[in-house]
């Protein structure tokens, strides 16, 4: 490390630690985000208020209703007519209806305006009804790697990829532009400082912040939410380093095309949203149309997302995950090189 680089890092550190907003970004924000995703963002349906209208009232219909109640998910309220039940659904008091007509035929209704949970509720209902039927083959399904199918186990590791991109991409894209805006860039250009020293001096601190974020979120995931970390932590950190090459490269690239911090910030969001949507964080890539699936190949977050979930839940190693590491490495080197070359031109 050259002396000048050391001094540049010292200055960046001084500025970062002096800024109270930065301290929040580094420590509080990742914990806050993890808690939100751990507690609030869940596709699990735990409690469904259900209206029961049983116009047949036979032994069989009562037995079916009993099965729903005993699942513990459906909380029944008995109604005397369909109209009454529909009214309750309109009001949003209930999320499902179990209806039997006089002939004892059953209809199960869910509130489709609730999207994701309606589907999950219907799935539960189908499972309960299937159990009641006599069949020559007993079906017992089991979910590997996440036996209780808790969405938290699925989302919280993904938060790492989200957090690191949001924090490092925004910070790095704005930091370089800030020097241009306040005029220090012009002054630094007349010092004997080399360009690479400036770039490394700028990016290294944000890379460090990114790594701290990874560790903080991982700690919260493991010790607070009891999400099992099946795989190796060093492998996770290696992935984080490769991923940071991508986010910092993008940040630097944005800063070479932006003139103000505001432009840089907006451009960063313009990158973050598609990257998150096309990463498989919330929407499975396998369900996307072919052309979109092709675009996801250029999205580093996609690979990070796979690596995170595989390491956390499956405990996979490099023998299986290496293509993801390789893809991130290639994308990262390309982004950093392009950004550095462009950066020279803007000077």
């Amino acid at each position: 490390m050259t002396k000048r680089l050391k001094f540049m890092l010292k200055k960046e550190l001084l500025q970062t630690l002096r800024d109270p907003r930065m301290r929040i970004v580094i420590l509080i924000m990742p914990i806050f985000q993890t808690l939100i995703f751990g507690y609030a963002v869940t596709t699990d349906v735990k409690k469904v208020d259900t209206a029961v209208v049983d116009l047949a009232n036979t032994v069989e219909t009562r037995a079916v209703t009993e099965q729903f109640i005993s699942s513990g998910i459906f909380i029944p309220t008995y109604r005397n007519s369909y109209d009454e039940a529909w009214y309750a659904m309109d009001q949003g008091d209930i999320q499902a209806m179990i209806l039997f007509n006089q002939q004892g035929q059953m209809q199960f209704v869910t509130d489709g305006s609730r999207g994701l949970s309606a589907g999950v509720t219907a799935g539960y209902a189908a499972a309960i009804l299937a159990r009641g039927q006599q069949s020559p083959v007993t079906v017992e399904s089991r979910a590997w790697y996440n036996p209780l199918l808790e969405s938290r186990n699925f989302y919280v590791p993904g938060v790492i990829a989200m957090m690191v991109m949001v924090v490092t991409l925004i910070l790095s894209s704005m930091a370089v532009v800030r020097e241009v805006e306040i005029g220090t860039m012009e002054q630094i250009m007349v010092t004997p400082m080399k360009r690479w020293e400036f770039i490394v001096g700028k990016l290294l601190p944000f890379g460090t912040i990114g790594m701290v974020n990874v560790l903080v979120v991982t700690a919260v995931a493991v010790f607070w939410f009891n999400i099992p970390l099946q795989g190796s932590l060093p492998l996770l950190m290696l992935a984080a380093v490769l991923y940071l090459m991508n986010t910092l490269g993008m940040g630097l690239l944005i800063s070479t095309v932006s003139r103000t911090q505001q432009q840089a910030m907006l451009s960063a969001f313009f990158v973050i949203f598609p990257a998150a949507l096309l990463s498989g964080f919330a929407f499975p890539i396998a369900n996307m149309p072919g052309i979109i699936r092709f675009f996801t190949l250029f999205n580093p977050m996609r690979y990070m997302m796979t690596i995170l979930r595989d390491i956390f839940l499956k405990g996979n190693g490099l023998d299986i995950l290496w293509p993801n590491y390789l893809a991130m490495f290639i994308l990262g080197v390309t982004l950093l090189t392009t950004a550095t070359l462009r950066f020279k031109k803007t000077g």
């Binding site: 002396k3 000048r4 001094f7 540049m8 010292k10 200055k11 001084l14 500025q15 002096r18 800024d19 020097e179 306040i182 005029g183 220090t184 860039m185 012009e186 002054q187 630094i188 250009m189 007349v190 010092t191 004997p192 400082m193 000077g347």
Partner: protein
């Protein structure tokens, strides 16, 4: 040639469609204050950035302290200081930390830093503010801190791009006193300015307009470029009378308060004829400001 600090030959520079600098040449002697004067958009900042070796010209050459600005950038950067229009200070770092940072970037030895920092703080009157964040200084103090940071590595040539832009008159005067002290110590200064009272304080001037240098010399020589000097008279409607003179004669006319200045080989009788009255006309030598108004008007008419 050792007496020349900077030599510029046929410099040109274009940005996309716009030609900012159209083949300029000048020389700056060691130990003088050289002023590059001209209206906004004349190409002054572009010229300064070429001299600071952060912009490579399309053609022509600039020798800075005997070094080529195109090929010996780093050697130049070690020996010069450049202060851009808004000198970049880190607002959240203190006066001392800003100076330390620039010293570190120039590789000033730690053992020498303390002494030169104390000297510069004392010289600029910032000693009592040494641990104040740069963002909390007044405009004039920021300017002085910028200069102190630029000088921390004891350069031989100081380039100042409109250093007193937006600084109050008292601070401007202080700033000039600081500059003269530097010149006494042997520093060469090249500065751009749009203030013509500042131009008169320079040892040597070049007037730049639309990418070309239209006049060069000492302030006295520049003033002598007005043929026949300046004819001045007081007027109750200075703007109206000034316009009537320019319309009916070949002369250049401009207004200073309630006074009309007329330049360019004109006789008193011609003025009297064009404004239909006989004011008290005084013929005098004129100022640098008169000269620049005259030169830029002539240039507009012929260009």
């Amino acid at each position: 040639m050792s007496e020349k600090s900077v030599t510029v030959r046929n410099l040109t520079m274009s940005f996309k469609e716009v030609q900012a600098v159209k083949g300029i040449s000048f020389e700056v002697a060691r130990g003088e204050v050289f002023g590059l004067v001209g209206p906004d958009g004349a190409g002054k900042t572009t010229t300064m950035r070429i001299l600071a070796a952060i912009l490579t010209p399309d053609s022509g050459e600039a020798q800075i302290l005997g070094l080529s600005s195109a090929t010996e950038r780093e050697k130049i950067h070690d020996r010069i200081a450049y202060m851009s229009q808004r000198f970049g200070l880190y607002q959240d770092l203190t006066v001392e930390e800003n100076m330390e940072f620039y010293a570190d970037m120039y590789g000033v030895k730690r053992s020498e830093l303390k002494a030169s920092m104390d000297k510069l703080l004392d010289w600029s009157g910032l000693t009592q503010f040494r641990s104040r964040p740069a963002g909390k200084l007044s405009g004039g103090m920021k300017q002085k801190l910028g200069l102190a940071c630029a000088l921390i590595h004891t350069p031989e040539l100081l380039l100042l791009d409109e250093p007193t832009n937006g600084v109050d008159p008292v601070s401007r005067k202080e700033f000039w006193n600081l500059l003269y002290k530097l010149v006494d110590e042997g520093l060469t200064i090249i500065m751009t300015t749009a203030y013509l009272d500042e131009a008169e304080r320079c040892h040597s001037l070049a007037f730049m307009d639309r990418g070309k240098i239209t006049a060069r010399g000492t302030p006295e020589e520049i003033v002598d470029l007005i043929p026949g000097g300046v004819l001045k008279f007081n007027s109750d409607n200075p703007f109206e009378e000034s316009n009537r003179i320019t319309e009916s004669t070949e002369a250049v006319s401009t207004v200073f308060g309630s006074q009309v200045h007329v330049m360019g080989n004109i006789k008193e009788e011609e003025i009297e004829r064009s404004i239909d009255r006989k004011p008290d006309i005084i013929r005098s030598r004129g100022s640098v400001e008169d000269a620049f108004v005259y030169l830029s008007e002539i240039e507009t008419d012929h260009g």
